[in-house]
Structures are given as structure tokens and as C-alpha cells.
Symmetry: C2
Subunit: 352 residues, 2 copies
């Protein structure tokens, strides 16, 4: 690999001039610039990105920092978002650095390393916990970041984030099945260690009280992590006396809903929106949701939109746009400066 000296020697100038020519400075003779450019081309010289960032220059790279858990729900969502994010980065001429840790204790450490490494200009923090030390960490370090999700205390901390309104989404689902005349509404969720799980569950509780339905603890099962647990939970729901069995199952995400549907089908129960059938709803509208049978009725938080908003906001933050960074998503509610809540949309299909 040729370096700046090689080019300088070829061109018979100093490295300073080469640097200036290549970086489009104005104070360099047009002729010299042309010559240097040509030589750089010939030598197929590319400035070392690493040396550049050592000077504090932009890296044109952002990091995606998820908190990887081992849930059934976590994996499929992760894959989807990484892919979409990577694709979205192209538009901004950014590269995406994905680095996570195997164990959850290490995530903070890994994050600190990435943030302090000088390898990225900004970070997309994902899978926020209600109390998430990573927000303070990044704020301390002073690196631009945008969170996907929010902590409980987002108002005091006032860091930039994009979140999907989980409570609203679940409310919509509850309202929808309520209007079908269903009253015994079960709620299945993964662990509550992540913010969105909590918000979504709150949505369930809020809407129950809104409709004057008493909460039945037997209809709420949380901390579901793998297939078997879900199957067992569904089984248990339908071991209740018949008039206490749920008429609808609100699942906190699509992956859960998928498993619920499968369990129900295995048990010989019909899933759907008709009376007598069990209604099942999901959340996220992952690509497979439309293909399930019955096709999943769910709350869509278009991942494309969400990722688009995340990138838009992060890019604005990185530019130090003192101006309120506006994002172009139309369904966004502004909670604070650079804090947006995206409103999910009810997608009615067959499962409810």
C-alpha cells in the first residue's frame, strides 16, 4: 500500500501539498493538484483511514450497539434492524460497525471501548433498559449518539432518542379486540428487563382500566424466553375453567405471537377474529408476520421508518446541528428536544 510519501515523491512536492490537494483545499495550484490527483490515481493511493482518525478527523462510520439477550424475540429483531440500518447507512455514505458482547456484563465495556476507540463518529444505542448506564456512559464520553428506545428518566437526561410508542401500540390492539366483544384478554411478554417490554405492558394495563376490565393475574405471563415456555404458558391459559379462558392473547411482540399461534394450532384451537376463535395479536410487523397462518394482526413500527429516523437524527447530532434536529417521519411525536416517539399503526390481518 502506497502512502502519502510515495505520492509526494512521485509528484516532487511535499506531503503537505499532497494532503491539501487531496482534501480539496483552495490554496493549492490547480496544475499541482491535477498532477497529484493523477499520480494518486495511478498509484491507487488511498489515505489511511486509521491515520486520519488519529488526527481526529471524521471516520464516516457509526456503530450499532445493541444489548444482546438470548430471547427468542431478540434475535430476529436484531437481524432485521442491523440489515436495514446497514442499508440505510449507504444513503449517508456511512459504514456501520456492529459490535456486541457475548455476555451482558460486557456490553458496557465493549461499548466504552468502541466509543473511545476513535473508530466511529457516532453510535446508535439499542435495546435500552429502564435504567441504562450506557446513556450516561456515552454522555460522559461526549460522543454523539442516538438511542433506539428510552430510559425511564429520559426527561431529566434529555439525550436524543427515537422510540416506538409501545403503550399506544398495545392500547390499539386491546381496543381492537375489545371492540370485537372480547373481554378476557391475556398478555404474554418476554422479560421486563428492557424498556419497551415495560411500556408495552403498561399499555395493556392502561387500556384494561380504561375499559373497566379487572386485571386477572392468571392471564398475564411474563419472562417468556423460549419456545417451550411459551407453549406451557398457552397450555396453562387453556387449563383454566372454560369461562375464565382468554378470548384474546395480546403478545408483546411478533415472535411471541408466532409461537402462540403455533401452540394454539397444535392444541387444535382456532385462531382468528371470529367469535369462538382465539384472537392473537403481535407487535413489530416483522417480515414473516404477513405470511403466518393466520396472517398476523399486529402493530407496525416499520423498521425502515424507525431506522430512517435514527439515522436522520444521528446525522443531525453529529453535524452538531444546534438547531432542533427535525426528522421527516410524519407519525412522530416530539417528547423533548431530539426525542421522538413514533406511533405504530394497526395492521389488521387474520389472526385477530
Amino acid at each position: 500500500m502506497p502512502n502519502i510519501f510515495d505520492v509526494a515523491k512521485q509528484a516532487g512536492v511535499s506531503i503537505t501539498t499532497v494532503s491539501r490537494a487531496l482534501n480539496g483545499y483552495s490554496d493549492v495550484n490547480e496544475k499541482t493538484r491535477k498532477r497529484i490527483l493523477k499520480i494518486a490515481e495511478e498509484l491507487s493511493y488511498y489515505p489511511s483511514a486509521v491515520a486520519r482518525s488519529l488526527q481526529g478527523k471524521k471516520t464516516n462510520t457509526i456503530a450499532f450497539a445493541p444489548w444482546l439477550r438470548d430471547h427468542i424475540e431478540s434475535r430476529s429483531f436484531f437481524k432485521e434492524i442491523v440489515g436495514v440500518l446497514a442499508l440505510g447507512c449507504l444513503k449517508y455514505d456511512l459504514s456501520l460497525l456492529v459490535s456486541g458482547a457475548d455476555s451482558s456484563q460486557e456490553t458496557s465495556e465493549t461499548l466504552r471501548e468502541v466509543a473511545g476507540s476513535g473508530r466511529v463518529d457516532g453510535i446508535i444505542l439499542s435495546d435500552l433498559k429502564p435504567e441504562d448506564e450506557r446513556v450516561a456512559l456515552l454522555t460522559d464520553i461526549g460522543i454523539p449518539f442516538v438511542a433506539f428506545g428510552r430510559t425511564a428518566n429520559y426527561q431529566e437526561l434529555s439525550y436524543p432518542f427515537i422510540d416506538v410508542d409501545g403503550a399506544a401500540g398495545i392500547c390499539t390492539m386491546v381496543e381492537y379486540v375489545y371492540n370485537q366483544g372480547r373481554r378476557r384478554l391475556a398478555y404474554l411478554s418476554g422479560p421486563f428487563n428492557t424498556s419497551y417490554s415495560v411500556y408495552r405492558f403498561n399499555g395493556y394495563r392502561e387500556s384494561l382500566s380504561k375499559f373497566g376490565i379487572a386485571e386477572d393475574p392468571r392471564l398475564v405471563v411474563a419472562d417468556l424466553q423460549e419456545q417451550n415456555q411459551i407453549k406451557q404458558a398457552v397450555n396453562r391459559l387453556f387449563s383454566l375453567p372454560e369461562h375464565q379462558q382468554p378470548e384474546a392473547i395480546i403478545a408483546s411482540n411478533d415472535m411471541l405471537a408466532l409461537n402462540v399461534i403455533n401452540s394454539l394450532t397444535e392444541m387444535g384451537r382456532e385462531v382468528g377474529s371470529k367469535p369462538g376463535q382465539t384472537a392473537v395479536t403481535g407487535f413489530d410487523d416483522l417480515p414473516f408476520a404477513a405470511f403466518l397462518r393466520p396472517a398476523l394482526t399486529t402493530a407496525r413500527q416499520s423498521i425502515e421508518d424507525t431506522c430512517g429516523a435514527l439515522l436522520e437524527l444521528l446525522v443531525a447530532v453529529m453535524r452538531q446541528d444546534g438547531a432542533e434536529a427535525k426528522i421527516s417521519q410524519t407519525n412522530a411525536l416530539m417528547l423533548g428536544p431530539k426525542q421522538y416517539l413514533l406511533r405504530p399503526e394497526l395492521v389488521i390481518r387474520e389472526s385477530a
Copy 2:
């Protein structure tokens, strides 16, 4: 961000000692090391990855370098593979850098930049073309890489790759529908600018000749890029005189098959394995394949396996393992040193 000087000052030693202590060198007093480690911890000091790589040290990062096209088939596959790769990297304590270019002319340039940037230790090159200048490019630069897919001249070039045996996969599908008694077999494909499309198509032609079926050019449609084109193609197939219409449609990938099924269904035609129904087969077994209706019969090239093999091989190459890098996949056929062909597996579901 504290740097190595801060730690050195705190500890009352030179930066050399700090460096050595942190990198686990043996020639440093245990006491001093302890002290330095403690101080580094307190200061939450992390060595700058950038400065480190400037010294030619490992970055523990690999790049994924796809060739992004604008097909309907390209996008979903890309998302899947990036996600799985990112997850797979965790096992090896690697970060994944995804950087592509918007336009296809730029891919080589972008690649050169990444490869020469010093930011990554190795590269996974994807979406190979039958003649792909990127192989020579990376070989020239001398950076470790593994290709996902292969060029036509892989034997001369002898670079490491993992490929899925596209011909074999399609042969399996053809044989399967042939055994159902079907003889008029259409083949739908995306553009032939990518190796796997060519190999898969070859598989189609080989198996036709193997079964003594004459090729009917009207049953082969290539260069399909978007929904509408696929719909039109299917329409045209069934505008043929009835006894010339296809009894099976072999699609070169799942995304294509999905659209074929939808088109067929819209036209009121039944898809399935029974006589009278049109059989449709896919290739890849993307996550949605199992959920389609009818569920897609396809050739599975488990992306997990493929990515696993890619990473395994790349890590071996990066370690300079002169020894033949063995991969642990059991269905792998060795074409040459560090060149493996993965044999896809027939997944029989409902669509054929």
C-alpha cells in the same frame, strides 16, 4: 478521554511500562502491573484502537463487502446474512464493519478503501460475479479474505471461498418435481450478472438434459428484478397454449418464488404438489419460506451454516494457518485448498 500518558503520570511510570502492563507482557513487575491496571480501571482508560492499528496491530474487526444490487432478491438476502454474520462474529470476539456503495461502479473503490484503510483484519467478500475484479484487488493488497461465492476461474486463482452448490440445489428440485411426473418445467431467474445465478441456471439445464427434456426457451425467463416483471412473466407463461404451459416453476431463489406464488394465486391458479396444481420451488430457505402459503418447497443453504463456515475459514486465514483450514460443516465438499462447496438440502413443504 484519558490517554496512555494520563495513566503513566498517575502511576508514576513511563508510557512504555503502561503499554507493556496492559498488553500482558511478562517483563513487568507484578506490583507495578497491578497498580497500573487499577489506575487504568479508575480512569476508565481504554487504549485507542485507532492508534493501535496505526502500528499494524490487530483490529479484531472484519468487513463484510457485499455487492449491492437493486433486485428484489438481493435485499432480503443481504439483511439476513448481515444479521447472522454480526451475530456470528460475537463468538470470535470480532466486530463487523459493513460498508457498501450505492452504485455498483463504486463497490470496487469502496472495497479498496476499506481494505487499505487499516481498519479491518479481514474481509468477507460477497455476491461474486463470474469475473470479479475484487478478488484480484484483495489478493494484490494482500489482506486476508474469504469469498462467499466463487468466480468462474476459481481454480486458477485459488483464493479461499465458501459457496453453496447452486447447480446441485436446482438439480434436486428438478428431480423432485420430475418424479412427480412433471415435464414442462419453467425456470425463472434474476439477472445473470452474479455467479450463483449462473450456477443455478446451469443446474437447470443439466438436469433437463439428464432427464432428456428438451429446453423450451419460452419457459425460461431471466433478468427478473422487480415484482411487476415477475407477475408479467408468470402471466406470459400461462398465456401459452394449454398443453405448453409449465407444470412446475423452478425459481432461482425464495424471493422470486414468493412472488411467483402470489402471482399464481392472484390468477386463481392453485400452487402445490398435486396433479393439476402448479408446483413452485425456491432456493435459500429464507425465514419466511416456511410461512408462505402454500409453504415453500425449497433448497436450504442454511445461512447460519454458511456464515459459520465463512467466519471459520476467515479466522483460519487471518491466523495464517498454513495448515489447510478445515471447516466443521459436515456437508462441505472441498474443491481446492480452502475452497468449499456446501451442499444444499431439499426441504419439502407444500408448494411442490
